[in-house]
């Protein structure tokens, strides 16, 4: 390090812009490497100005940076505040979506097995993912903004429906991509869509009375139990046939009707 340093007089003249360019250039080059001379300049800038700029910096630093999902929502024209509310849900965060994708991928890979169990695993798992996602998307534990949401002048019912729709869309799109990619274009790749809708809407309807997480768990367990008991002796895809699909549609309709009648329970 050089032995050359600024004195107070030089610091004042530099700060006031009175140094000739060459001397100023030397000062500037020196300042980058000298802590002591930099501190000589501190009193040359009014505290009020520094405080004002710092307040702006602190503001910008404390404002959270919107995540990729929130930016996507904004890009497709969702209002800022709505996007923030929806993106607050855990199941719309990247880790959750990544985990879902991984689970589906393995299930779909397993379906390549010659036995029918592999395909069955995929068809069973695909409808459960949105149920789990919806179950943790709102409610006391699943929503980090739950307390704020209660106090906000915003319909909880509307928020719940919006979040569920977003979860359903994202996980269904995921399952569809994986299904079509690995299972080919057969109808089987989409056979879980109605069961998924039925299970999700059932979870929502039950959530009007019970904790959404419990509802999600119960619905998922029931689904698993039914699938296993029906296919225990001989695995078949009968559950996903025409009659089954109509049944799922009926469950979905009934659940939505129930949900509509009980919508006040959510606020």
């Amino acid at each position: 390090m050089s032995t050359w340093h600024m004195d107070d007089g030089l610091a004042v003249r530099y700060a006031d812009g009175e140094l000739n360019p060459t001397l100023a250039a030397s000062v500037e080059a020196h300042l980058l490497a000298c802590d002591r001379c930099r501190s000589l300049l501190t009193p040359r800038v009014p505290d009020a100005r520094l405080d004002r700029v710092w307040a702006e910096v602190a503001d910008a630093v404390d404002t959270p940076v919107p995540g990729p999902f929130e930016r996507l929502l904004r890009a497709i024209g969702v209002h800022d505040h709505t996007a923030r509310l929806m993106a607050a849900a855990y199941s719309l965060r990247l880790p959750w979506i990544t985990a879902s994708a991984a689970a589906l991928l393995f299930a779909a890979l397993a379906s390549g097995e010659t036995t029918r169990w592999g395909l069955l695993v995929y068809l069973t798992l695909a409808p459960i993912l949105p149920v789990a996602g919806v179950a943790v998307a709102f409610g006391r534990d699943g929503d980090p903004a739950h307390e704020i949401g209660l106090a906000a002048p915003y319909s909880m019912f509307r928020l719940m429906l919006m979040r569920s729709a977003a979860v359903l869309t994202s996980s269904s799109a995921l399952a569809l991509v994986v299904g079509l990619g690995l299972l080919g274009g057969s109808w089987i790749a989409a056979a879980w869509l109605l069961p998924s809708l039925a299970l999700t809407s059932l979870t929502l309807a039950l959530s009007s009375r019970f904790d959404p997480r419990h509802c999600g768990a119960v619905v998922a367990m029931t689904w698993l139990f039914v699938v296993v008991s029906v296919n225990f002796r001989e695995p078949s895809l009968a559950m996903f046939g025409g009659v089954g699909q109509v049944g799922y549609l009926a469950v979905a309709f009934a659940s939505f009707a129930l949900l509509f009648f009980r919508r006040r329970e959510f606020s």
């Binding site: 250039a25 030397s26 930099r38 040359r44």
Partner: protein, 175 residues
């Protein structure tokens, strides 16, 4: 006062990378003043300078982990600061730049320079203001040819030819 005050810049920057807001505040306290003054020499509009300083420290907060850990933290901050100022200037052009205006060098300063900085200082001060501005922007401020052109309001090609002329003149003076 916290122990942060005793930390080195490098340690503070590491802490900022880990989301330590107090460390950012201490860094700001150390580096904002000289940055304000040095940027003021490049741009006369205090509002633009304030914006640039603000953007700089927000960028420090967000990109602290990209600092390689080598060299002076102050130099790293300057590199961000001058580019943020360029961004501001691009948005609102046509601001006079005092550092690049012609400055009459007094006889007294000439002598002072001669003693203090020897031949290079004299040779530098004999350059025309246009050539000196290019040397300052590229050598001292560390800007690329294109960035220097934007700061000075001239095409990048002109920056290159002026830099070549400045080098030739300095060589003549010094040899």
């Amino acid at each position: 006062m916290s122990e942060h005050e005793t930390w080195t810049d490098a340690r503070l920057l590491d802490a900022v990378a880990d989301g330590d807001r107090r460390a950012l505040e201490v860094l700001y306290g150390r580096h904002a003043p000289w940055l304000v003054i040095r940027l003021t020499r490049r741009c006369a509009d205090p509002a633009l300078v304030d914006e640039a300083v603000q953007d700089t420290f927000v960028a420090v907060w967000r990109t602290a982990r990209t600092w390689k850990g080598k060299g002076e933290v102050a130099a790293w901050i300057w590199g961000i600061g001058i580019r943020r100022l360029l961004d501001q200037l691009r948005r609102r052009p046509a601001v006079p730049l005092p550092a690049y205006e012609q400055v009459m060098v007094s006889a007294e300063e000439q002598v002072l320079l001669g003693i203090e900085y020897g031949e290079l200082g004299q040779a530098m001060s004999r350059l025309s203001p246009e050539l000196r501005a290019v040397v300052q922007a590229t050598v001292l401020d560390g800007l690329t040819t294109r960035e220097a052109g934007r700061l000075l309001g001239i095409p990048a090609g002109t920056v290159k030819t002026r830099m070549m002329r400045a080098k030739a003149l300095l060589r003549e003076e010094l040899v």
